[in-house]
Symmetry: C2
Subunit: 293 residues, 2 copies
């Protein structure tokens, strides 16, 4: 099978693909690299690729807006997730004194905001479509530095000038695996050998649109889950883009849509909101936590 991801090689998305395919014992997986997240969605949707892997949230900087928007607008479903530890490095062909321009993806720049403010308050900042693209571009001039992974230093012939420059040592990004709805069962079957006697824990992701000025609507919705002891692991609002004060809510909950309680809760929510979209149920990725200090 092939899978779309943010490229070029050396990106954290590549790490996510490697981690996912390793844990799923997927062999002969071909990665197709794209310039931006929207392109990955489009290629998954038109089945140019079997699946895609894209970042959805980071533990320092929060949600990736374009991913949330695309989940609402496109017809893809979520079939898996994988969490990758993020350790940004400052990479360059030159020395610290040479640096005039720092390049990286906007999310990585935001994750290193304090580092940049303290150490490079007046240095020009340029954004790129991915951290690995920043590393690739930095190879051209000694005055350029990239914020990217350790691996992309090797890949693009750069020196690691400083390691672990993100504002919190404990930094993780959660990626989701997406596919078109008609391929989702096939891709989920790839994970079948993962299922232990107890079965994997599942997470279900939904989007609900509550009309503006519906006081208490969110409370009523959450009640459908609370009354069934269903644990919500995430609730995130995003502008509906119809105007200020009008939001769409992204909710993650523990359990699979195949469980009776979850199904009933979601049916209950559907009765109460203008729109609901079930993005899918998929195995939770349990990963080792790091500790700050």
């Amino acid at each position: 099978m092939n899978i779309g991801a943010l490229g070029p090689a050396g990106s954290y998305s590549q790490k996510a693909v490697d981690e996912w395919s390793k844990s799923r014992h997927v062999t002969s997986l071909e990665i197709v690299y794209y310039q931006d997240i929207q392109d990955v969605f489009e290629s998954v949707q038109d089945r140019t690729v079997d699946a895609g892997i894209i970042p959805i949230e980071n533990s320092i900087e929060g949600s990736i807006g374009i991913t949330l928007d695309q989940l609402l607008e496109s017809s893809v479903v979520i079939v898996g997730e994988v969490v990758v530890p993020i350790q940004h490095c400052l990479l360059s062909k030159g020395t610290l004194d040479d640096i005039r321009i720092i390049l990286s993806h906007p999310q990585a720049l935001a994750q290193c905001r304090q580092f940049l403010k303290s150490n490079f308050p007046n240095t020009e900042i340029r954004t790129t479509g991915s951290t690995s693209h920043a590393a690739k571009l930095s190879n051209e001039f000694a005055e350029m530095a990239a914020i990217a992974s350790r691996e992309s230093a090797d890949k693009y012939g750069l020196e690691i000038l400083i390691t672990d420059i993100q504002d919190k040592k404990n930094n993780h990004t959660r990626f989701i695996v997406i596919s078109s709805p008609d391929l989702s069962e096939e891709i989920k079957n790839i994970t079948a050998d993962l299922i232990t006697p107890d079965g994997p824990d599942y997470r279900t992701s939904i989007i609900v649109y509550i009309e503006k000025d519906s006081p208490g609507a969110l409370y009523t919705i959450l009640g459908e889950f609370a009354s069934r002891d269903i644990n919500l692991t995430r609730i995130e609002s995003r502008p509906s883009k119809k105007g200020l004060g009008d939001y769409v809510f992204y909710i993650d909950l523990n359990g699979s849509i195949n469980e009776k309680d979850i199904k009933e809760a979601i049916d209950g929510v559907a009765m109460k909101v203008k729109n609901i979209k079930v993005l899918g149920s998929y195995p939770i990725h349990h990963y080792p936590e790091q500790t700050d200090n």
Copy 2:
């Protein structure tokens, strides 16, 4: 009085200050410009300026992460808000064919994501601390273009090449007015002549930190408001930065902390969460909605 804002002159923050001072009939207001949002917070906190005005959310791209983080970390309070219509233009000294580099603030770039993807897929993008700073820099080279306000074209000697380039025509940014706690009453008194016989509508902003793995905790909190018919106008999660899945919630509600119901609800919430921070109660800015099409 003086007020800190994102500069240089010509920024949307300047528009926000103008709008706020006009509606509050504040005369002789001096604007002190800063390079970034964190600097505005610091200057308000150490009382270098009497107040600050900073963007908090946009109707296309959502929350401004650094503002939310600073509201949690600093000791400032919110004393007012103002909503500004945002109409981005593409500005340059050169022509469309000359453009090799586009500069703007990351939020403005995100608000024009589709425009950029369709029209400038391979053009280099550089981020700046503000839209007006982008306009100022673009004055140097004909190959540079800025995404900024119409006003900054005049200010920095640029031509308006394309108007209204944000992805949705209806685009607003909500700014908040912040001050140090000991100055907040004084600044609120400035708005006293605004108070009509019915009194202005107030909004109250709070931050709550719910410990991870407290199923139903958010539901219980929202219940304190729902049971008192208090309308929540916004609920936004932000990483606690302790690790994935651990969030801080920013909640806006209709009403003032001086009202008995609101006070009781907030006291009720305080009993149920690990941490609560009341950011302040302030008059709601009612503004004319635009319509798309």
